[in-house]
């Protein structure tokens, strides 16, 4: 059995975890911070506050250090 719950239109990664006890594969979608590329699984109603960068047009992880726009691509020297 394969369980997939779409939680976002544009996931940045997909996590799969096999559950041998119930013969299932659980699949989760993640978003990632456009400034540090931290990935997190979307949990609607979790209460975790994330951010949004209007320059990058993408979500941020919500850490104070990622409140200032320094794109991940710039940090990594692209």
């Amino acid at each position: 059995m394969h369980l997939l719950k779409h939680t976002t239109r544009k996931p940045k990664s997909i996590i799969t975890i096999d559950d041998p006890e119930f013969n299932q594969q659980i699949q989760m979608e993640t978003k990632c911070c456009c400034h540090c590329r931290q990935h997190w699984v979307l949990k609607p109603g979790s209460g975790v506050t994330r951010g949004y960068c209007f320059k990058c047009g993408d979500v941020t992880c919500g850490r104070k250090a990622c409140g200032t726009c320094v794109p991940y691509e710039k940090k990594q020297g692209w």
């Binding site: 940045k12 997909i14 975890i17 006890e21 540090c36 590329r37 931290q38 990935h39 692209w78």
Partner: protein, 147 residues
């Protein structure tokens, strides 16, 4: 066209690094696949793993990256396992999850979700075990990247 490579390593100690992918000074490693699983006797334990960026490499055993296409050139990025001195981590868990010892954990990056090393010497990403809830299972990491 980017060439793809893979490497693997095992770790049986908590709070230790199991596998690293280290970018080169002329090329970046774009990690797009990570697998974590446990060998040994199946048991109910939680394996807490994380992936972190590091800015300075530690002391470990070199792993020869395998090209996923056998006709590709030798990898320019490096990979290490079995660390005796941990890399200097940047302090951000770019991926942090727990899974049951009986399970297999896989992470697939989508476009613009890859973990990319910088061209600074010794910069890369490490896959580490943060904690075991019980016992000391052996965790195996496999990583694929493009360069």
């Amino acid at each position: 066209m980017a060439s793809a490579y893979g490497s693997g390593g095992t770790i049986a100690v908590a709070a230790d690094t199991g596998l690293t992918v280290i970018g080169g000074t002329t090329v970046k490693a774009r990690i797009d696949y990570i697998l974590a699983s446990c060998s040994g006797t199946p048991a109910d334990a939680t394996i807490d793993i994380s992936v972190q960026q590091f800015t300075a490499d530690g002391t470990g055993t070199a792993v020869t990256p395998e090209p996923l296409d056998v006709d590709d050139r030798v990898a320019l990025c490096a990979s290490k396992k079995t660390y005796s001195a941990e890399p200097t981590y940047a302090g951000i868990n770019v991926l942090d999850l727990g899974f049951n010892q009986r399970s297999v954990f896989q992470w697939y990056a989508q476009p613009n979700g890859e973990l990319v090393s910088s061209k600074a010497a010794g910069d890369g990403y490490g896959m580490r075990v943060d904690a075991f809830s019980t016992g000391t299972p052996t965790v195996q990491f496999i990583a694929h990247w493009k360069e």
